[in-house]
Symmetry: C2
Subunit: 390 residues, 2 copies
């Protein structure tokens, strides 16, 4: 029964750190991971990762990706302009290639297999624009052309990123085999297409039948069942559960619409479990790794490549906006945040990457999130509009 005390420590530490990070205007996600590092076995030693923390962490990331999906309406993917599509596509290809190339280049290539290099590239793909959206909102720039392109591209980018992850993580389970990889990519595209083109309209069309159900909070129960079911199916096909959860959320996004109670209840489930995901990641991170000079160089190289490849790829995709607009879009797409962290965690749990690569990718995901706001502000030339609470 010491279980409850451990869970209390993990949750309270995460939320305390989140509050501190909000106050120093840094992303709460980074604070919650650092809380895990702090109370974990390598620093204070108060809690260790356990079966319980792993289970809650796994459920937490499934619900996190379901929530990300719920905020992604499939219709948006077809609505956004050609610029968003080219921004997203180039912003996926360049980081994937650059991440792979970096890990195949000496001195970083030492002891790194091609599947490991591919995984690092994959972790560089998906953008997590939460921090960008918040920065632009505080600058009063959410309505600008570049902001709309960033938000549209982020949606497509998420879907492309998950396609890449689906293919790479399946490949990671066997050896790389091109025809097999092609079949898997096809399967991934079919799964995405099924959820976006078939499941979503069907759910939207028949959502009102949920009102006829007699049990309390029936809508919420259906949403949870859909999320767990789609995650389980994804696992059966050979993908990560989070991919099914994301697609289930996306399929439900239109039907869920403005149902306030459903969103509040989902928020409750997510807010309860996600801290365990973030703390569990921190528990597995040994800060001592970074005392090694070669690891430190690897981390710095990863951060630089992640930032430059996204800036170049997305900037190129948005060249029509002119130099300043292209730079705004490129910089806005730099943060990897949660999705990059999810990929790192998945790689570790699949045994594809080791603790050192896991730590390096994790730091890259956090660092790209930390550097974005100070990059964006001067690009929008809005320093004079800065409010103290931005």
């Amino acid at each position: 029964m010491e279980l409850l005390f451990g869970l209390f420590l993990m949750f309270a530490a995460a939320k305390f750190a989140a509050e501190v990070f909000e106050r120093i205007r840094q992303p709460a996600v980074v604070g919650e991971i650092l809380a895990g590092v702090l109370i974990g076995p390598h620093v204070l030693g108060w809690v260790a990762a356990s079966d319980a923390s792993h289970l809650l962490s796994e459920l937490g990331v499934v619900f996190l990706m379901f929530s990300v999906g719920l905020a992604t309406r499939p219709a948006q993917i077809f609505e956004v302009g050609a610029t968003s599509i080219s921004v997203a596509t180039l912003g996926v290809i360049l980081p994937l290639a650059a991440g792979y190339a970096l890990m195949r280049t000496p001195p970083f290539a030492a002891g790194v297999s091609s599947i490991q290099a591919l995984f690092v590239g994959t972790a560089m793909v998906a953008t997590s624009v939460g921090i960008t959206a918040r920065t632009l909102a505080s600058l009063g720039q959410l309505g600008s052309a570049s902001a709309r392109i960033i938000l549209g591209a982020a949606v497509i980018d998420d879907v492309l990123g998950l396609l890449v992850l689906a293919a790479v993580s399946s490949a990671a389970k066997g050896s790389i085999n091109l025809p097999e990889l092609a079949v898997l990519a096809l399967l991934a595209i079919l799964f995405v297409a099924f959820m976006a083109l078939l499941a979503a309209p069907v759910l939207t069309r028949f959502a009102h039948y949920a009102n006829r159900l007699r049990s309390d909070n029936a809508e919420f129960s259906l949403a949870i069942a859909l999320c767990l079911g789609a995650a389980a199916i994804a696992v059966k096909i050979g993908f990560a559960g989070i991919i099914g959860a994301f697609l289930a959320g996306m399929a439900l996004a239109e039907a869920a619409g403005q149902r306030h109670d459903l969103h509040a209840q989902m928020k409750g489930a997510t807010e309860l479990l996600v801290p365990f995901f973030l703390v569990d990641i921190g528990l597995q991170l040994d800060p001592g790794l970074f005392s090694d000079a070669s690891t430190l160089w690897l981390v710095l190289a990863l951060i630089a490549v992640a930032a430059v490849s996204k800036l170049a790829g997305c900037g190129l995709g948005a060249f029509r906006l002119g130099r300043r607009g292209a730079l705004q879009v490129g910089a806005g797409m730099i943060p990897r945040g949660e999705v990059g962290i999810v990929v790192a965690q998945l790689g570790l749990s699949l045994g594809v990457i080791d603790a050192r690569l896991f730590g390096a990718v994790l730091v890259m995901a956090c660092a790209t999130t930390l550097i974005t706001p100070p990059l964006l502000r001067p690009l929008y030339g809005a320093a004079r509009n800065l409010r103290p609470d931005d």
Copy 2:
């Protein structure tokens, strides 16, 4: 990763059964337990109880009791009239004594220790008036004098029931030792008094400081941390975690008040986890047990004693209302529902009661809930007011 499929099956089966039971106008809780029996190892064999189901079940019951506490304002305990107090007190003493006496009487006493008999008595103590409240609401009788006495008594009854449970479950860990039991009862009273008289006003007084926190959903995070923290403290003192969770909920009830989002988010966390608690109980129940005649007699005796002792105790406490009013109050207090189930589950996990007694107590808790609505309707003579959706 078969984990997600098992969790999906448990959740979906529970919610499907809940919907079916709502439609045949029976308590959803009973349906969710039966879903667990059905998919469990003794019937269909689709899922078995696992570390994962136990963890989610334990968290589920902690949040369930926290929610029960959130609906219990300590002020109500001091407001309700003398009748509610006498109803609650006699309604605790008689069932406890009757349950204990039954289990010490041949033929039921065979192989039953005095601590086991005490546990059965304890499982008969706490009323779960949800089903009564719903029945009275459908009869349009929630405003009646007897209804107000029932709801007031149910609050005191919960607190008294948890005091008894705290003392008995601590005693169950060692041998029964009267001075030690007295110390524990005192400790339980102090813990309840501390939470109700000190923590509650302090939380109510300083609740508005939560508005100053910067992190998202800070109120919800504080509530969860308080729940887990109080549950962990209860365990450290030597009580069940659910007692701390209930008291934390009660201490927060006034401060939480009408904060709609906090309640919706708590609902999300609870609705996600409680089905695992109920299904996990079903998974542990072997329906084959009841093919044994002696077990069947035990179950019937338990149900009869549970119903009659509550009817008599609470009716006696409400004698001022006249015969009809006393019967209304007595019948309204019969359902044991969730709290009785929680006690049975705790007894099983402490190793105090075996699978046979666990099953018998569980059936008693469910049966008292099932028989109450048909008992109440004629007592309120309101059959003609019955709406089809009662």
